[in-house]
Symmetry: C2
Subunit: 367 residues, 2 copies
C-alpha cells in the first residue's frame, strides 16, 4: 500500500483511490482462510464481491472521511494513519451492499457496463443448467452477497488497527450513517410506489440517501476518529448536507441532460425510469400552477419508454417551466452555504482547500 504520507495531500485523487483499493485488497486477503474453509461456492461469492468492490468507483466516501480526519488535525505521518485509512476504506463495503441491493430493487441489469451481481448469478445459473428459476437464484445470491458486504464493512473497521477507544467514538456515527442510508432507500421506494410528487419528499431522500451517507457522515466519521470539537463537527455536517444535496441535484440534471458519452448512461434514462427527483417535482409544481397541459404531459410521460424526440420534448418543458434554473439556483445556494460553513470553521487550511475542490468537483461535474 502507498504510505499514508503519500496519500495525505491527494485525497480525492487517483493516488488516494489506489491506496483505498490496496487497503480493501489487503482486507479481502485476510478473509481468504475463512472463505476457503467454507468451500468453493463461497469462494465464488466472495470473489464476486471483491471484484465488484475493486472494479471502480470514485472512492468518494473514503475521501471525505480521510479529509475529515486530516482537517480535524489527524496526522497523516502518525503511526495510526494506516488504521485510519483502513477504517475509511470500509465505507466502500457499505457502499457495495447499498449498490448490490439497490440494483435488485431497481431491477438494474448493468452497472459500470458490467452485469449487476444478481444478473451475473442469474446467468451462471442459466449457463450451468441448474434447477429452479435463474432469476430468483440470482436475486437470492445477490441478497446474501450484499449482506456479506455489510457485515464485512464492520469487520474491516474492527480489524482496521484503530484503538478500541477510537472505535467507540466512531461507532455511533457509523450507526447513524447506516440507518440514514437505509432510511433514505426506504423513503425512495415508498415515494415511488406511493407516487409522492412533492419537492419535500424528493429533498428528504436527497438528504438521507445521498447527503448524509456520501458527505456528511463520512466527514463526521473522520472527525470522530480525530476527536474533533463539536463546532468543527457542526461545520462538517452543514457542509456535508449542503454539498451532498447539491451533488444529488447535479446528478438529477445529468440524468436528464447529461451526455451519454460522458455519463455512460443512455440519455434521459431518469425520465424513462420515472425517478422522483427535485427537478421533476419542481417542474410538476410549476406546471400545476401555470400550465395544466404540460403537467398532464409530464405525468403521462414519466416512467414510460420514451424515444429520443419525446426525451427532447420533456427536456424543453423542464427548461421552459423554469425548473432547471431553479435546480441550478439551489445548487449554487447550497454550494455557497456549504463552503461558507467550512471557511468559517477550524478545519486546517489544506483541508479547507481540499473540501472546496471536492465540493466544486461534485457540484459542477459533467458525469
Amino acid at each position: 500500500m502507498s504510505t499514508p504520507t503519500a496519500i495525505a495531500r491527494s485525497s480525492g485523487t487517483a493516488a488516494f483511490a489506489t491506496a483505498v483499493e490496496s487497503a480493501l485488497t489487503q482486507f479481502f486477503a485476510t478473509r481468504r482462510a475463512t472463505v476457503q474453509q467454507l468451500g468453493p461456492v463461497f469462494v465464488e461469492a466472495a470473489d464476486e464481491l471483491e471484484l465488484f468492490v475493486l472494479r471502480g468507483g470514485k472512492r468518494t466516501r473514503p475521501s471525505f472521511a480521510w479529509t475529515g480526519w486530516v482537517g480535524a488535525g489527524g496526522d497523516p505521518n502518525a503511526a495510526d494513519a494506516t488504521a485510519v485509512l483502513n477504517a475509511c476504506a470500509a465505507l466502500e463495503l457499505v457502499q457495495a451492499c447499498a449498490l448490490i441491493h439497490d440494483d435488485i430493487i431497481d431491477s438494474s441489469r448493468t452497472r459500470r457496463r458490467f452485469p449487476t451481481v444478481h444478473v451475473d448469478f442469474e446467468q451462471r445459473h442459466r449457463n450451468r443448467g441448474w434447477i429452479g428459476d435463474p432469476e430468483h437464484y440470482g436475486t437470492s445470491v445477490a441478497i446474501l452477497v450484499g449482506d456479506l458486504a455489510l457485515a464485512w464493512a464492520d469487520d474491516m473497521v474492527h480489524a482496521s488497527g484503530l484503538d478500541p477507544a477510537v472505535i467507540a467514538r466512531f461507532a455511533p456515527v457509523w450507526s447513524q450513517m447506516r440507518t440514514e442510508v437505509l432510511g433514505g432507500q426506504l423513503l425512495d421506494i415508498y415515494g415511488e410506489a406511493g407516487g409522492d410528487e412533492s419537492v419535500e419528499a424528493a429533498m428528504r431522500i436527497n438528504r438521507y440517501k445521498t447527503a448524509a451517507y456520501t458527505v456528511e457522515r463520512p466527514l463526521h466519521l473522520g472527525a470522530a476518529i480525530a476527536d474533533a470539537d463539536p463546532a468543527l463537527i457542526a461545520a462538517y455536517r452543514t457542509f456535508g448536507t449542503d454539498i451532498g444535496i447539491a451533488f444529488q441535484l447535479r446528478d438529477d440534471l445529468l440524468g436528464v441532460f447529461g451526455d451519454p458519452a460522458v455519463t455512460g448512461k443512455p440519455s434521459g434514462d431518469d425520465l424513462r425510469e420515472g425517478k422522483r427527483t427535485v427537478l421533476l417535482a419542481d417542474a410538476l409544481q410549476r406546471a400545476d400552477l401555470t400550465d395544466p397541459a404540460a403537467a398532464a404531459l409530464l405525468r403521462a410521460s414519466i416512467g414510460t419508454d420514451l424515444d429520443a424526440d419525446q426525451v427532447e420534448r420533456i427536456r424543453a418543458l423542464l427548461t421552459d417551466l423554469g425548473a432547471v434554473d431553479e435546480v441550478e439556483r439551489r445548487i449554487t445556494e447550497l454550494t455557497e452555504q456549504g463552503l461558507a460553513a467550512i471557511e468559517a470553521s477550524s478545519a486546517t487550511a489544506s483541508a479547507k482547500e481540499q473540501l472546496r475542490a471536492m465540493a466544486l468537483a461534485a457540484t459542477r461535474r459533467a458525469a
Copy 2:
C-alpha cells in the same frame, strides 16, 4: 428489565427470554428519535422490524451466549451483567436479518403463523393501490428491513455498555459468526440449485448455517466477553458444533415426521420443498446401493406437491432404508461427544448443568 441476577439461573427459560425481549425493546426505544426524524414511512418499517423481533422465538442464541459467559466465570451479579445481556440480545437482530432474507429466498409466505415481512409489505402495497408490482415492492422493502436488522445488531453491541476492550475481543468472533451463517446460506441455495445430493454437502450446511451460528459462536461470544482461556473455548466450540448439528438433524426428522399440531408446519413440508437434508442424502445413498427403484421414486417425489398418502409412502421408505435410524444414531453420537467435551471442561458446574439441559432440549424435542 429483570435484573441480570434473576436471569442468571434461568437461561433458556421463559424468564430469560423476557429479559432478552426487554433489552431489545429498550434498544428499539433508543432508535426512535432517529427513526422519527427520517419520517413516517421509516417508522412503519422500523415498527415492522420491532414487531418481528419481539413476536416470538426461543431466544436460543442469546441463551447460549449468556451461558457461555456465565460458564467462563462471568458474574451475573457484577455491574457489567446488563451490558452482557444487551450484547447477547443483539444476536436476535442478526437472526432477524437471516430470517427476513431467508423468507425472500425461500419464497415463504408465512412465519410463526404471520405473513412474512415481504408478504406483509406486498399486501400493504396492494391494499393501498400503489404504483408498480406489489411483489417486487414487498421484496424490496424486506431486503432493506433485513439490512436494517443487520446494521442494528452491530449498533446494539456498540451501545450495549460493554467496555471497548471487551468489544474488541467480541468483534472477531462476531465477524466469524456472521460470515459463517452467510456462507452457510449460500451453500444451501447453491446446493439446492446445483442438485448436490451428497451427505457431505448437507453436513457442511448444517455445520455453518446452523451449528456455528446457533450454538458454537454464541457460546464463543460469551467466552470472549469473559476472556475465557483457550481450552474452555475449544470445549465450547466442540460442544457447539456437535450439539448444533444434532439440533439440525432433529429438525430434519421433525420436518418429515413431526406432528403438525406441535411443529406448526404442515406435515412433510420439507419433502415438498425439496430440502436437501442429511436424512434425504443418506437415504439416496443407501437406495442407490440397494434399491434403484426406491432411489428413482425419491428423486421423482422430492420437491413436488405431494399428497398425504405420498408423504406417508416417502416416510416409510426413509425408515425402511435405514436412513432414519442412521440420523438418530448420528444425533446420539454427536450429543454424547458434545456433552463429554463440556463435562471435561473448566466450565462452572451450573453452566455444565445448563448446557446439558439445553443440549437435550435441542436434540430430543418434538417441535
